[in-house]
């Protein structure tokens, strides 16, 4: 019988409670509570700024993936397609738009009209249109915060200043929209919390260098990403990540892995197929294969290589995070390098690339990436295709076949190396 992996600890339940509390806060806001809300995208989110107003973030992506993981994404996707959205349009967009059309929410609770639709345009130009549509459907004001793509290794000073000026415009706009004065001290405190959380998160990420890894840095990391993006800049977020680090460190110290016998260590590139999240995880579990690192867990921020928000430079560090410290706004060669470091420093056996059919921006170039790792670095690399939101793109038998073949080949190669030695 296939082994089914389950994280054995308390942090998953804690994060579930936190996310339900967050949805409750949004429901209260929809019910008339004095609670400003701001729609944002995950990648390079500036949740710290919102804390200066006591505003809650809303993430259309999180709503979309929550629907998919609950097997409810197809109905809103079809509703959006009926309206004219193309078949190859981003499925996150279609699920979100379809939800607005049909009045669906992931938890069944209410979602408020956002105080502001803040399109923190990081790494995805489709989002500009998406957020324009969100503003159109909700009637909320829209601010497009233009974050230039990272062209070289680091952003220029002009890039940083450009983003900081826009952040300050957002502050002025939110002051007008909420009627609240921006609390700079609270903002700086939020940046300090973020810095602490990022330090803890980074330490957690490095725990998976241990074999066996105490958690799966793809599937379990996704669970931790909710609190990371919603609560990062708050005391509650800091408390959660302190306890998460302690729990996982204790597992590491006790040599307790996600599997009783870890057999393979892989790096995963790309988001998961959320509509088949459990089935997909089980395909890895069958082989006792643990993801020791993933690029998807750095979409909202890349912290394991040293970057932290800085309370002494709150605006500048928020800008730096948006510009340079999240995987989607970085250039492709930097992504190669990120994965290469994961393979070497986390001692991985191979790389698995999941191509997302409806996200050309994230996925374009992954064929070359496969070639680079396979041919130039000699790292076994599997390339599979489906979608992060649209269940129609997932072929279970074919995906399973490829994953089985990949791990068989790793197993056989180890055997052949031993026989040949």
């Amino acid at each position: 019988m296939a082994q089914v992996s389950e994280y054995r600890g308390s942090i998953h339940q804690q994060q579930k409670d936190m996310m339900l509390d967050w949805y409750q806060k949004l429901d209260d806001a929809a019910g008339g509570a004095d609670q400003p809300t701001v729609s944002m995208m995950i990648s390079g989110n500036c949740v710290e700024l919102l804390e200066g107003f006591g505003a809650a973030p809303m993430y259309p992506e999180v709503n979309a993936l929550q629907l998919a993981i609950r097997h409810q994404s197809l109905e809103p996707i079809l509703a959006a397609e009926e309206l004219g959205y193309a078949a190859d349009n981003c499925a996150y967009v279609k699920a979100d738009i379809g939800c607005m059309l049909k009045g669906i929410t992931p938890t069944g609770g209410r979602l408020p009209k956002p105080t502001l639709v803040l399109c923190n345009f990081v790494g995805c130009n489709t989002y500009v249109k998406w957020f324009e549509h969100v503003a159109e459907f909700t009637g909320a004001p829209l601010y497009v915060l233009d974050v230039p793509f990272l062209r070289g290794e680091e952003p220029s000073q002009a890039d940083v200043e450009y983003v900081v000026r826009q952040l300050k415009e957002v502050v002025e706009l939110l002051e007008r929209l909420t009627g609240r004065k921006f609390d700079f001290d609270r903002f700086r405190q939020a940046v300090a919390y973020s810095s602490e959380v990022e330090d803890l998160w980074s330490k957690i990420k490095h725990l998976s260098k241990h074999s066996p890894s105490p958690f799966d840095a793809y599937f379990d990391a996704i669970t931790l990403m909710g609190p990371l993006y919603v609560y990062r800049a708050s005391e509650r977020g800091a408390e959660f990540f302190r306890s998460a680090y302690e729990e996982l460190r204790a597992k590491r110290d006790a040599n307790e892995g996600i599997y009783d016998r870890e057999k393979f260590r892989v790096v995963v590139e790309g988001p998961p197929p959320y509509p088949y999240f459990r089935a997909f995880r089980d395909m890895f579990a069958k082989w006792n294969a643990c993801a020791v690192a993933s690029t998807y867990s750095t979409v909202g921020g890349l912290w394991e290589f040293g970057f932290r928000h800085d309370p002494d430079k709150p605006f500048e560090s928020v800008a730096m995070h948006m510009l340079a410290q999240n995987v989607t706004n970085r250039n492709y060669l930097q992504r190669y390098d990120q994965i290469r470091r994961y393979v070497n420093e986390w001692n991985a056996d191979g790389v698995i690339i999941h191509f997302v059919k409806s996200c050309r921006l994230f996925s374009a170039g992954q064929g070359d990436m496969r070639d680079y790792f396979t041919r130039q670095l000699g790292v076994p690399t599997l390339y599979i295709e489906s979608d992060l939101e649209d269940p129609r793109y997932f072929a279970e038998a074919q995906t399973k076949n490829r994953i089985d073949a990949f791990f068989e080949s790793l197993e056989h190669a180890k055997h052949a190396a031993k026989v040949g030695a």
């Binding site: 016998r261 260590r265 390339y383 038998a397 076949n401 089985d404 073949a405 190669a413």
Partner: protein
């Protein structure tokens, strides 16, 4: 006598092979049946036909490995492996020196880079699309009203193969009808069809680096027109075993012998248990 079996349940046909190992591995018997809707029945039928053909009782078979899409339905089997591993292993056994395998089956086509011991170094497959597979050829044959066995020889007679713009298994029908209405000769149409698939397969194979020796496996290897078209675009001859169609089952039978001997999986597991990573 140590005997093991490999059963390859493909989308179109189910193949079984019995193999013995008396110091030297040898194929004892092979059998073929249409898969149909009842996968288990097809697997049992092929397996028992094989046993009959070899003149042995099924209980004399020490280990059975299932492969192909229906492998998990083979309830009488001892283990399952993917056809990717099995084709590589089978090709290395029947065509020693194989470094690249091009497998064309009913619904899948794949290119596999193979190591010296038959291990899979890399592989790519067609993705959720029957372009470049046996099904594409079968559809083309049906539209033309020609038997599947005849299309290969017919395509070899092509003097001016037509250009088939699409590699879509569904839309190729309209392409063919269009050429027929233009009065193009059947051999030139079939020549074009074979060439279109060969080019698509070439681009698949290039993604794993084509290294000699190249071995073709799978049911489509029986199609001489496809072999010719592939060798033309590859610019080299391929090795084609008379058992090319059975290659997945052959590989599965070899794995079955090794698993029966406890020489494969446990060796790897012991390696892990000893903490070789640390």
């Amino acid at each position: 006598m140590r005997i093991a079996a490999g059963v390859d349940v493909g989308s179109t046909q189910t193949k079984a092979v019995l193999m013995q190992d008396n110091g030297e591995r040898k194929i004892l018997a092979r059998a073929l049946t249409d898969t149909g809707a009842n996968v288990l029945k097809a697997a049992e039928s092929a397996f028992h036909k094989c046993c009959e053909s070899a003149g042995i009782h099924s209980q004399e078979v020490g280990y059975v490995v299932g492969t192909g899409y229906g492998r998990y339905k083979i309830t009488f089997g001892n283990a399952q492996m993917t056809e990717i591993s099995c084709h590589a292993r089978g090709a290395q056994f029947l065509c020693p020196g194989t470094r690249t395998v091009i497998d064309m089956g009913g619904q899948d086509s794949k290119a596999i880079s193979v190591g010296p011991q038959g291990e899979v170094l890399d592989f790519v497959m067609n993705d959720k699309c029957a372009a470049g597979t046996g099904r594409f050829l079968a559809n083309a044959a049906e539209v033309m009203g020609i038997g599947l066995d005849e299309i290969g020889p017919l395509s070899l007679k092509a003097t001016q193969p037509v250009k088939i713009a699409t590699v879509c298994t569904v839309f190729v029908e309209s392409d063919i009808l269009s050429y027929l209405s233009q009065g193009k000769r059947p051999e030139n149409i079939m020549g074009g069809v074979h060439l279109a698939i060969a080019k698509r397969t070439l681009s698949l194979a290039r993604r794993v680096n084509i290294e000699p020796e190249v071995t073709m496996t799978g049911g489509v290897a029986r199609n001489c027109g496809m072999v010719h078209a592939l060798e033309t675009v590859l610019g080299r001859k391929m090795q084609i075993s008379p058992d090319a169609h059975y290659m997945g089952a052959v590989g599965a039978a070899i794995f079955a012998l090794e698993k029966m001997d406890d020489t494969f999986e446990n060796t790897v597991w012991r390696e892990h248990a000893a903490g070789s990573r640390n």
